[in-house]
Structure formats: structure tokens, C-alpha cells
Amino acid sequence: MSTMAMPLASPALQVRRTGLWVFMGVVTMLFLLFSIAFMMRMAADDWRVLPEPPWQLWASTALLCASSLAWGAAARGSMAAPVTRAADHAIPAAMSAAMLLSLAFIGMQLWGWQAMAAMHYALAANPANSFFYMITGLHGLHVLGGLLVACLVWRRRDGAAISLCARYWHFLLGVWLAMYGLLFLMTPERFDAICSSFK
């Protein structure tokens, strides 16, 4: 068990890690079901495919990537043994960078909403739009929830907790990339092509 060799691993790390895995399983199920609903609803005639994503969404994707990387840096710093004086400064810096980047991600997503609305893709105008706002909104709530927990971690400076934050942020990034691809790349034609390839 590699974790036991880590200097800052408290006895409860294994427990917390299991808890996080279970939680990520639940969230995966949630977004998987949204995806399935998305693809089932797509079969109806009134479906209009979403446009090319506005630049804000590419920017927010980059911000979330950066945040995930920053968490990774904080985790690596806090897990290195022994913690050097330089690392002692670097860890809070990386953490605050990660959290600010996440806030910027949320802001950019909201700006993306505004851009979509300005392009006349309103929430109730078409089911594809409805899914876009709903899924991005719920993903954003999961980022905000993560930030809330990260604030508690910030106060405790617990290396194990920082590494779990990093893992959760990587997960959030993965979910976002999957949802981004689903919302803008999955068209009824592609869906049919995938289904007929199994025949």
C-alpha cells in the first residue's frame, strides 16, 4: 500500500479516499443518467443541435484544466517528504491559484450562458438548450460544493485532504469534458451512426 509510506498520510486517509470514490461514483451516475436522458430526448423531431460553442466555453475549459493542474501541484508539494520551506510557501500559493481559477471557471460559465442567450439559444426554446443550461448548471454546483470543502481544507492544511481535493478536481474536469463533448458533438446523426454500427 503506497499510501502508508506517505509522510502526511493520517490513518483516516484510506477511509476518506474510499468515501470520495463512492461519492464520485454517485456523481458519475448522476451525469450518466443526464447523458442518457439527453440522447433519448434527442430522438424527437423538435431537436435542434446546439451551435458552435462560444469562445467563453473554451476559455472556461482552459480555466478548469489550469485549476486541476494547480491542485495537482499543491498535492504533489504536500505529499513530498520532507516538506521544505519553499514548498511550505508553494502549497498555499498553488491552492489559492486553484481556487481562484475555479471561481473564474464559474464566472466564465455564467458568461458563456449569457453568450448562448445572446445567440438566441434560450433555456425553454429547445430541449438541447434546456439540457445545456441544466447540465452546465449542475456541474457548476458540484464545483461550488468542492470549493466549499476546499475552504475547510485550506484552514487545516492537511496533505491528505489536499490530495483528495486534487483528485476531485481532476474528476470534475473529466465530467466537464465528457459533458462538453456530449452537448456540442453528439448530434442525432452521430447517435444513429453509433447505434447502427452495433447492428
Partner: protein, 595 residues
Amino acid sequence: MAYGGAHGEHGQEHGPQSFWTKYVWSQDHKVIAVQYAVTAILVGLVALVLSDLMRLQLGFPGKFEFINANRYYQFMTMHGMIMVIYLLTALFLGGFGNYLIPLMLGARDMVFPFLNMLSYWVYLLAVLILMASFFVPGGPTGAGWTLYPPQAILPGTPGVEWGIVVMLISLVVFIVAATMGGLNYVTTVLQARTRGMTLMRMPLTVWGIFVATILALLAFPALFVSGVMMMLDKTLGTSFFMPAVVSMGQHLGHAGGSPLLFQHLFWFFGHPEVYIVALPAFGIISDLISVHARKCIFGYRMMVWAIVIIGGLSFVVWAHHMYVSGMHPYFGFFFATTTLIIAVPTALKVYNWTLTLWRGDIHLTVPMLFAIGFISTFLIGGLTGLFLGNVSVDIPLSNTYFVVAHFHMVMGVSPVLAVFGGIYHWYPKITGRMFNEAMARFHFWGSFIGAYLIFFPMHYLGVLGMPRRYYAYEGYSFIPASAQALNEYISIVAIIVGVIQLAFVLNMAWSAFYGPKAGPNPWRAASLEWLTPQSPPVHGNWGAELPVVYRGAYDYGKQDGDSDYVPQNVGPEQDDRAGAHHQHSGAGRPVEVPK
């Protein structure tokens, strides 16, 4: 497992002091369990009253003017939703799960005690929001517990103004609470078992709750998704589920949505929900039968695998609730097949319970009566499930009282009997006192016979073609007058059985203070929860040292002097079973084996 050691140095001295921290803002899994159970039972009593109000209308149509058609549907909806989710799910997972998982596994508490406390308070919030729907303009929703759109959010359905919104909010809040609890239960089972407590030594109650919790964690998101989407349809005018509708002469703004999509999502939650309730009941019944028949559970490994397989299968049968919605015949074939396959592991469990009883030293204690009652009602309900699992039989029966009879036997009466059996069984551990035996027996016979008297005739009414969900049955030429006589009789019995439940409530409340002292292990059970140094167990459960487990939880029936069982924490070298029969309890001091 590392958890126990880390926590161990605290011992019990960190137990909370004041009334508020001890009983209200408690992080002790046992207090939280009691909070969960009491809340669930209270809200369940509300649902019981609602069912009796429905029966008043059905038995004596028009006699009670305040039960108009709208109220009737509101009572029906709230009765179903409360019973399935806010009573049974909360009681099995939040009540039994919280109390028994740490004690049965030799842990000091759940692994995330703060989250556990939060889970209860969020659950209470969900209950309060739900109860608030009785007081909002228009009253609670009357859409039926399945909340099918489009009718659930269209004018004409009672509670369309506020009730449906309040219901959806309450469900989302409940799911948050259930997820917080579920994370705890799963992680505790995986990480906080004491030394020697392998997965295959866990009592079947823990197995049932563990697998049911996994089902809950994977199935509740489907309810969450459908709830959020319906909320957006209702409040922001989206068209996830809403097709183009002309309502009251007006075109609504919706178009193109699919009510079938909702049904798929709902039942992808709704069917596993049946097993979220059934699997803990299976586990509890297994333990009750083994303890009170003084015999090792027959086929322990088979029982575990049956629980796991039933849990897995429960995710691939959901569309058998939708045969009447219309589907491709191949899909009907698929879902009928998977549904009938579930009968195999389920029947296996029933056989194993029966074989455990076979030549056992059966003590007809109150918990045992409930366990045997459960086997009976579950068998009846399961057999009618075979009828309804077949597409061609289901379609004519689907909208009749046959279905009402089926699901009440299998999912209403049976789990409730398991709940009662479980509460009577663990009551002496929870309170330290014994319940009143006579009153409990009265409660059992009243409920058990009453349940048959109420629900058995409904099978007949269903075969007769009496439709369910109707507010009044006058003026239908295909319903004979004798059906009304039967309805009247069912209503009278239902009200009597409802009143008999007071015997349970009074018994529990009175005995908690005035019942005779029960001692640490009145049933002479072998599993760890009976071996705590104090009874009822204190915060931290085990004193200075965690118990060590050497065997499974079912070592009964080998007579040796006064004792016919070996507790889980008795090691092989202590098992010479000669002489004084001393053993080490969790506290590390010798304790006499209770007689």
C-alpha cells in the same frame, strides 16, 4: 480498519456532556439512528392516517364530505410517497443501518460522524418540506406517487399550484440526505470493520443494508434527474417531458417532450427502490430466524450471493412497470425474462429461511413471530409478482386492485413486519429494557391477521376487474354490488388495524422508561452488537479495546452445558467450552456468557 485504532485512543471520554450535544446535535450513530427511526415512524403514522381516510371514502362513499375527489388523490399520493421513501427507506438505511452497522462490525462509530449528523438534519428538513405541502395553497400534489407527467404538472391535477413543486424540492433534499448517509454506510462497511471481521463473516443484516445502500446511491440519482427536469418543465417552461398539450382550450408552451422518458428515469429509480426496502428486510429476517431458531443460517454464502445478485438484477427490470405504456415486444420479452430470473435468488432465500427453521430449536418470541409472518406475506406477494411479471398477464391486471394487493403484500406489509421484528429484537439493546410481551403479541397478531384480511380480498377484487386509482365506484355495471360490501369490510378492518398500531407506539414509549431491565444479551445472540461492555452501548461502543472476531455470526445449536452458541469474539483456544466459560469482551475484561 485503521480507523478504529486512531479513534481508540479517545476511548469513551470524548462522549458528549450536555443534553443538547448528547441527544440533539449528536454525532453518535446510535442517537442518530433513533432520531431517524422516530422521525420516520411519526411521518409513517401520518401516512397510516391518510390510508384510513382513503378507506373511509372507499368503504362508505360520499358519507364523509370532506374527502372529495381532489383530497382523495392527495391522500393517495402522500400515502404512497411517505410510506416508500420517507418511512421505509429512511427507517431501514437511516435507522437500522445507522444503529447496526458500526455495532455489528465492531466499529466505534460511522467513519464520518459529522456527515452522519448532517444526513439526519437534512432528512428532517425534507420531511418538514413535505409536510408543509399540506398547508400551501392548493394542498399537496395529487399526481400519484409516481408523479407521471404530463398530468402531474397540468391544471386539473390537485396541488398543481404549489404541491408538486414542494414535493419535488422535498425529494431532492431527501436524496441529498440519503447520499450523505449512504456514503457513510458504504465506507464504514468497507473500511471500519474490526480485526477478523471479514466480509464473509458479516451478519446478513449488514450485507442487506450494505447492498441496499449501494442500490440507493446508484438509483436515487435517477429520481434526482427526473425531479430536476420536471421542476424545470413546471417552473421555467422547458419541454423535457411535456408534449404539445391543449389544456382547458389553450395551447401550452410545451412541445415535443416525452412522458415515456420520465417513466424510464422514474422506474430506473423506482424498481431498485423496491429492493432498497427489501434487501435490509431480508437481512434482518435472516438474523432473526437464526437467533430465535438457535440454528446457523442455512447456506450463508448462498444468502450473501443472493443479496448481491438480486441487487444487480434489480437494475435491469425497471420497464416491467411500463408494460401498459407500450413497448416493442422484444423489450417486453427481455424485461419479463429478467423479472422472472429474480425469482430464482429470491426463492433461494425463502428456501434457506425455511431450511434454517427445519429442525431448529424454534422459540416463538415476538421477533420470531414477525419473521415467520414476513416469510408468509413475502411468499404471497412474491407469487403474485410472477403473475404481473408476465406481459400478457400484466396488461389486463395492471390497472386493477390485483396490483394494489401485490405491492402492498410484497413491499408494504412484508418490510413493515421486518421493521417491527427488527425493532422488537434490538429494542432491549437500544433502550436496555424489555418491551411488554403481551402487548407486542397482540400487536403482531392484530397486524399479521389484519394485513391478510385487508389485502387478500383485494386480489379477488382485482381479478374481478375493479380498477385501482378510482375515487368512487358507483354506477359501473361491471362491478357487482357485492364488491362494495367487500370494500366496506376491508375499510372496517383497515381502521381497526390502524388503531392496533397504537399498541406498538405505546409499548415502545412506555417500556423505554418502565420496562423490566433486559440485560446485555436477552436473546443469547452471537453477533457483536450484543457483546458491548455496556448495555445500552455508550458513545464509542467498545470501551478501551475493539473486539476481535474469530467466526461468523451464526454459531448456534451446539449444546455445551448451559450455552448453545459461541459469540463472534470467542477465539479457537477459548472454545474448549469446558468449565466456567469465560471469554473476553470488547472491554478486555472477562464477562460471563449471558444465559
